[in-house]
């Protein structure tokens, strides 16, 4: 095991020497034990490495040991004021190898620089190592005091191990044992144990059946022609198809499509229109005929036999390369460009990256499809060459807008599972985990999360989860353990299990899903995912594993013309009059009725009409699509930039206050429950504050009268992330630098916090 005890002495000695150069640090506590996981092996390490915290001076830099394992790059500070980890897999200074974007070694004196890959040589002794990470962090290590040989070795090791030659060299294939036994048996009822709810994986027909039932898609059926992936290697084993299509026909049709991908049902509107995704037809000659057959089948599955609309996404949306370029640019602007210098042209530079333009394009396209499904009551096919990229984004956004179920946490996870994981989004290639083909890399999933964030930003009470959740989800892509993001198809996922060298007790590998949040975060930390403003639990939701179907009081009302359609259709899934939204009493008086302008497209009129009504958070939600309403997702893009960090400010302070409030309400409610249910003997004692802490849903607990209400000092606009330690540039003009340093010092781990507040 790795301990490094023998070196401890010299290290301490050395530290004392350093005191002459640097102001006295507190006496070093014993170095924390290096945490490693079953299957994790230390490849190389270097001592006396300095992690740069601040470029202004070296005072706050950390000294410690830099370690490269087959899983991560780890930095163990000799003396770390905030070493307690809240992430269960990674310490504050750890970066998974898959998270490394670029490994750069520098020799200051010689003015040399080299980007390291696998199996490379280094002709100079590195004085500095800069790690550019996919989660937008940039870390800098200095080797001035480290042995030149060990510095060089650790750099080469990091370069080499971050470029695995083969999928099976990813740590997920090594990581086995404990987790396997713990989780395998609980597969069916074990997902997030916190809530007792289970995210459907859609890897079995029962999940699809339930979804069909939930959306009342009675004219659709689960089809198992692809069992054992005999038809298409990229489709899941179970797919949903029109009832009118026989397995035989499907098998035949599959030949016409790219990668044998027959059209997939995604979702049904309660008016009967369906959302279907489809790959393109291989042979243009058969295009017409194939389309015709598919259309007919889908029309048959529509209660009013209404026509089908096909939306070819390749033709109206940016391609994966453009998206990747936009992302690279905006990442560059946000994390690399000098802070102050880039101020003057900030807005136009952001515009030129085109990222927000693309975000808007995807939202707009999705809203357009919503119009057809909801306003025109027609089924829509979204088509894309491979049906594995743009379709994933659009189909999930459409469903997010139309179906409140997907705005719950479990619903959202099931949506990602259904439209991304099972539909065969090529996570392995798009993430470029193997760093083999840069042309295949594209941040479609991040783009999707940004779109979700835009909606969340506009409707903060409509989602059960928070932006911290979305950010943490994006970070999870770079931890090479989760089956969710490691593979490009179900088949690959399935087959990977058997690839590893079988050991006697573990015949197959088990890759956990990212939805097993307890692997990464404590129950308490997971409460950061909960949005205190969420007003959900309205229309459709899954409670305690039991599925409730939509309330469909207005199912029979339909009309082809928009003007004549019933109000219930216009305002989303639930009618205006039968279920009054809670805010309805306040809002219902505000219903302007715009007379139609002349040159207005029907969809514009439809949107206008929708916007003229109060939004029903349990119903259809359309984001405002004006460019002025597309915002930069600051938590994601700026969280590591110390200069952009607002101390004691940012949206988190509102979150803090709201979650305290909700917690207080939860406490009071449980007190009430105790009163009403209890026998007189069990009357709660005065001062007893509600339920045990584990069961509480809010991260920030209700304050007691003697505590200050002010947001705690560690709250910054970057929370729960900490920009201290990320590569810093000069501080903002006029802002006290002490603020940033304060931020770093008083940073507490979330666990400390939990202990304090309980």
């Amino acid at each position: 095991a790795f301990a490094g005890n023998d070196k401890k002495k010299t290290e301490m000695h050395f530290t004392t020497q350093l005191l002459t150069f640097f102001p006295a640090p507190p006496p070093p506590p014993p170095p924390p034990p290096f945490v490693y996981f079953p299957g994790e092996i230390v490849v190389n390490e270097a001592n006396f490495v300095r992690k740069c915290i601040n470029t202004e001076n070296n005072q706050d830099d950390l000294w410690g040991k830099l370690i490269c394992t087959n899983f991560k790059v780890s930095f163990i500070p000799n003396d770390d004021p905030h070493k307690r980890l809240s992430h269960k897999l990674l310490g504050e200074h750890d970066i998974p190898l898959t998270c490394l974007e670029q490994v750069v070694t520098v020799n200051d004196t010689k003015g040399k620089k080299k980007v390291l890959g696998s199996n490379q040589k280094l002709k100079f002794n590195p004085t500095e190592l800069i790690l550019y990470c996919k989660d937008l962090r940039i870390l800098r290590f200095c080797f001035n005091e480290a042995g030149p040989e060990s510095a060089r070795k650790v750099c080469l090791a990091i370069g080499h191990y971050s470029h695995p030659a083969d999928l099976q060299l990813l740590f997920g294939f090594e990581y086995q044992g404990r987790r396997y036994h713990e989780f395998k048996g609980e597969r069916v009822n074990g997902y997030p144990q916190r809530t007792g709810l289970r995210t459907p994986f859609f890897d079995r027909s029962s999940d699809w059946d339930r979804e069909i039932k939930r959306t009342s898609a009675s004219e659709w059926r689960v089809c198992s022609i692809n069992e054992d992936y005999i038809i298409s290697p990229s489709l899941p084993e179970f797919i949903v198809v029109p009832v009118s299509m026989a397995d035989q026909d499907l098998k035949q049709y599959s030949l016409y499509f790219t990668d044998m991908r027959v059209p997939l049902w995604c979702w049904n509107h309660h008016n009967g229109s369906a959302l279907v995704r489809m790959a393109s037809v291989v042979d243009p000659l058969t295009q017409r005929k194939t389309d015709q057959k598919i259309f007919t089948a889908i029309t048959r599955s529509h209660p009013h036999r209404s026509e089908v609309l096909k939306s070819e996404l390749d033709k109206c949306l940016p391609n994966i390369l453009e998206i990747q370029n936009a992302f690279i640019k905006i990442r560059q602007i946000c994390t690399l460009d000098p802070f102050e210098e880039s101020e003057e042209r900030w807005l136009s530079t952001i515009e030129n990256s085109r990222w927000l333009e693309f975000v808007r394009a995807f939202l707009k396209q999705s809203a357009e499809i919503v119009y057809y499904l909801d306003g025109k009551n027609v089924s829509v096919i979204i088509q894309e060459e491979e049906d594995r990229d743009l379709n994933c984004v659009v189909s999930s956004l459409v469903q997010l807008m139309l179906d409140p179920h997907y705005r719950s946490l479990i619903g959202f996870q099931s949506l990602v599972q259904k439209e991304w994981v099972m539909a065969g989004h090529r996570f392995l290639d798009r993430c470029n985990h193997l760093k083999k083909n840069d042309k295949e890399e594209s941040p479609l999933f991040v783009l999707f999360l940004d779109c979700v964030w835009q909606m969340m930003n506009q409707y903060p009470a409509a989602f059960e989860f928070t932006e911290a959740y979305l950010t943490v989800l994006s970070d999870s892509m770079w931890i090479p353990l989760f089956s969710t993001f490691l593979f490009s198809s179900s088949k690959q996922r399935e087959f990977a299990k058997n690839k590893a060298i079988p050991s006697a007790e573990d015949p197959t590998l088990y890759f956990p899903s990212v939805w097993e949040w307890s692997l990464q975060y404590s129950t308490k930390d997971q409460t950061l995912f909960n949005n205190p403003m969420y007003v959900g639990k309205g229309a459709a939701c899954v409670q305690n594993g039991e599925v409730k179907s939509f309330s469909r009081t207005k199912q029979k009302s339909f009309s082809s013309t928009l003007r004549g359609s019933a109000t219930s259709l216009r305002n989303g899934l639930r009618g205006g009059e039968d279920t009054l939204p809670r805010r309805g009493s306040l809002m219902s008086e505000l219903k302007p009725d715009f007379s139609p302008a002349k040159d207005e497209s029907p969809s514009e009129r439809y949107f206008k009409e929708w916007f003229s009504r109060p939004a029903d958070l349990h119903g259809l939600l359309i984001p405002v699509l004006m460019p002025s309403h597309m915002a930069l997702w600051k938590l994601f893009f700026l969280r590591w930039v110390p200069e952009a960090c607002i101390s004691k400010g940012g949206p988190i302070t509102a979150y803090h206050k709201l979650s305290q409030l909700v917690d207080e309400i939860e406490i009071l409610r449980s007190q009430l429950r105790q009163y009403k249910g209890a026998s007189p003997a069990s009357t709660p004692l005065k001062g007893q504050r509600g339920r045990p802490s584990e069961q509480r849903n809010m991260y920030f607990r209700a304050y007691s009268p003697d505590e200050p209400q002010t947001p705690p000092d560690y709250l910054t606009s970057s929370f729960p992330f900490n920009p201290a330690g990320n590569l810093c540039r000069r501080y903002v003009y006029g802002t006290p630098i002490s603020k940033f340093l304060n931020g770093a010092r008083i940073w507490l781990s979330t666990e400390t916090l939990a202990n304090d507040t309980v």
């Binding site: 409707y459 009493s585 405002v624 400010g649 302070t653």
Partner: protein, 644 residues
């Protein structure tokens, strides 16, 4: 005619009821009043952002009252008139060209306070206080059909266009000429409506600010600072308030000599003092240095005294808000800046904030970009080309530097620009907002405005041009709007640090123009006193403080003694869409967070009450009767459980 009618209504005192009537409260919503409180609930129409639940007048009305009112008024074609508001003219068959929905035909009513357009075919209503109108222009020549067109350019980021048939009776004036008369009362020898508006509110807003008690709150007088009455009759400086705080060891006679060296006699006086370090924020106008580099011993001694009043630091920072070029150019006009030779231990810093003309131009460009429609492409670069956010940034950055010097450097600062009533007011009030949590409360903010803006002579009359038809007046400038925008930026960065909400800020800006209240009339304290404004007009704070609930931020947490250091970077500055783009019907405002949190607060209060009741119940009841009583609270709890 209108004279007598106003006398009539004064005599009759229609709404002298114990509290302001709900109707009149809601109709004070002025410039957002495109959305009317009168229309039927289901069909209220407007071309405004009427979906804004936050800013809708309806929300300020208690639901029951609203419902009643709606029933009563639903068939009326007339606006709900304010006390002493009288109809001056009306016209049928007027077309309103809504930039969003197209032409609408209807009737127009002009009162001495508003324009009221009611569409004949729909429920559309446009309700516009005439004070908002900046200019009225007759557009083009009469068309073949004999129509005349009028364009109304408004101060609140919108333009309106109407047309109607030319009157056959040529002697009769167009209704828009009548409008012009009442939109520009000052130019037409009429009274501003604020002097006629006779609403009575439970609270008297004029009493919100009292200079002496505000200084007392800050701990003044103390051993270093005293209150002087040297300007009691505005003799030393007619644009300053009568109550001033100055260093103890400078006698009044010397103050007068200092005033001779400062532009318009605006000597350095105390705005704010740090409760612990005693570092101060002082404000003044530029020194009259001139091309020859004149010096004033008294002025130099005076600044030394300001520095000495703070034992913590042996330095004084002079923040000149202007770009250094402009400051130097002022020497030609006899002004200038402090030379560091003359003022020992003082460091002069230029903050590069541009003058009122640049700001006016910037806002004009912004209006072009956001109204009526936002182009689909190049939004951000168009926004950038207006430089509006850049100006906002410079102002906030200046204020941040001041706050940082005072808080972190424990150093006193002197702030000035040229005259010390525009940029200086922005800087001192913003830095005070960062430094002192009191000003982040509703009443504290009112005090801040009364003090730093109104009493220190920000020339509201000139900058806004109340009731004045001279729209090209070079003295007009959105300095105050810019300040409110900066405050909004702060509330965005610190959503829990302010007691007031966005609606409060929008309301202030709306009544900046509406001329309904006396608060923003005149240019100085002296003028307001001379015009007897507090006696003759109602304070905006009377209206606001009579319904604080509507203006409160439920997320408010008292950051007591916490200094706010915003990040002054374009990364965090945003265009205030809730104000500048609110007329666009495509804009649904952000989901009103404060409504949701208000619900939470109400729910908490309700639950707390119930728990308390039950607790009392439990203690009181005897063991034997317990089972009987258990039922009733259970039933009453049920609705609560649908929540969260």
């Amino acid at each position: 005619m209108e004279k007598s009618s106003s006398v009539d209504s004064l005599g009759s005192k229609r709404s002298s009821s114990r509290q302001p009537s709900v109707d009149s409260l809601s109709s004070t919503s002025t410039s957002r009043s495109d959305r009317s409180a009168q229309a039927k609930p289901s069909t209220l129409s407007s071309d405004s952002v009427s979906t804004s639940a936050e800013f809708s007048p309806e929300l300020r009305v208690k639901p029951k009252a609203a419902a009643k009112k709606v029933l009563r008024d639903s068939d009326k074609e007339e606006p709900q008139l304010l006390p002493n508001e009288t109809v001056q003219d009306n016209a049928q068959d007027v077309t309103y060209f809504c930039p969003f929905t197209g032409a609408l035909r209807g009737t127009v009513i002009i009162t001495n306070y508003r324009l009221f357009f009611k569409c004949t075919d729909s429920e559309f209503v446009l309700d516009l206080p005439l004070g908002v109108v900046s200019r009225v222009e007759k557009i083009g020549s009469a068309s073949s059909r004999g129509d005349v067109s009028y364009g109304l350019v408004c101060k609140d980021m919108r333009n309106l266009r109407f047309s109607h048939k030319l009157m056959e009776d040529t002697l009769r004036k167009s209704i828009f000429e009548v409008l012009m008369k009442f939109a520009f009362p000052v130019s037409n020898g009429l009274q501003i409506f604020a002097f006629e508006y006779g609403q009575v509110f439970p609270e008297n807003g004029w009493k919100v600010y009292d200079a002496v008690s505000e200084y007392r709150r800050q701990g003044i007088p103390n051993e270093s600072w005293r209150i002087t009455k040297v300007n009691d009759h505005y003799e030393m400086c007619d644009t300053y308030p009568c109550t001033l705080a100055v260093p103890v060891n400078i006698p009044d006679e010397e103050l007068k000599r200092v005033s001779a060296f400062r532009a318009k006699g605006r000597i350095p006086v105390l705005s704010w003092i740090h409760p612990e370090s005693q570092a101060t924020v002082t404000r003044c106008s530029q020194p009259m240095v001139g091309v020859n580099g004149k010096r004033s011993k008294e002025d130099e001694k005076y600044l030394q005294a300001i520095m000495d009043a703070n034992a913590q630091s042996h330095k004084l920072f002079i923040f000149d808000a202007r770009p250094s070029v402009n400051a130097a150019a002022n020497k030609m006009k006899g002004g200038g800046f402090e030379s560091e030779d003359a003022y020992q231990n003082a460091e002069l810093v230029f903050l590069d904030i541009h003058n009122i003309h640049v700001m006016r131009e910037s806002l004009r460009k912004l209006k072009d970009v956001v109204y009526p429609n936002i182009e689909d492409s190049r939004w951000l670069s168009n926004l950038e080309s207006t430089h509006w956010l850049e100006h906002i940034k410079l102002i906030l950055a200046g204020a941040l530097r001041i706050a940082d010097k005072v808080e972190s450097g424990k150093t006193s600062v002197v702030v000035h620009c040229s005259d010390g009533w525009d940029r200086t007011a922005q800087l001192t009030s913003l830095s005070m907002l960062m430094l002192d949590s009191y000003y982040r409360t509703i009443r504290g903010f009112e005090v801040l405005l009364e003090k730093e803006w109104l009493s220190f002579g920000h020339r509201f009359q000139l900058r806004i041009g109340h009731g004045d038809k001279n729209h090209t007046d070079a003295d007009r400038s959105p300095v105050f709007i810019q300040f409110i925008d900066c405050v909004w930026q702060l509330t965005r960065q610190f959503p829990a640090a302010f007691e007031f909400n966005e609606y409060f800020l929008v309301t202030i800006l709306d009544h900046l123009y509406s001329c309904l209240f006396g608060t923003f009339l005149c240019n100085s304290e002296q003028q307001r006193l001379k015009e007897d404004v507090p006696k003759r007009a109602v304070s905006l704070w009377s209206y606001i403080n009579s319904q604080l609930e509507e203006f409160s931020n439920p997320l408010y947490v008292n950051y007591s003694n916490h200094v706010l250091f915003p990040v002054v970077s374009l990364r965090h500055l945003e265009l205030w869409v809730g104000y500048y783009i609110r007329w666009n019907p495509r804009m649904r405002p952000q989901e009103p967070i404060h409504l949701r949190s208000k619900e939470l607060l109400a729910k908490r209060a309700e639950l707390q009450k119930r728990v308390d009741e039950l607790q009392r119940d439990v203690t009181n009841r005897s063991a034997s009767s317990s089972s009987d009583r258990a039922g009733s609270p259970t039933r009453s709890i049920t609705p609560v459980q649908t929540f969260v």
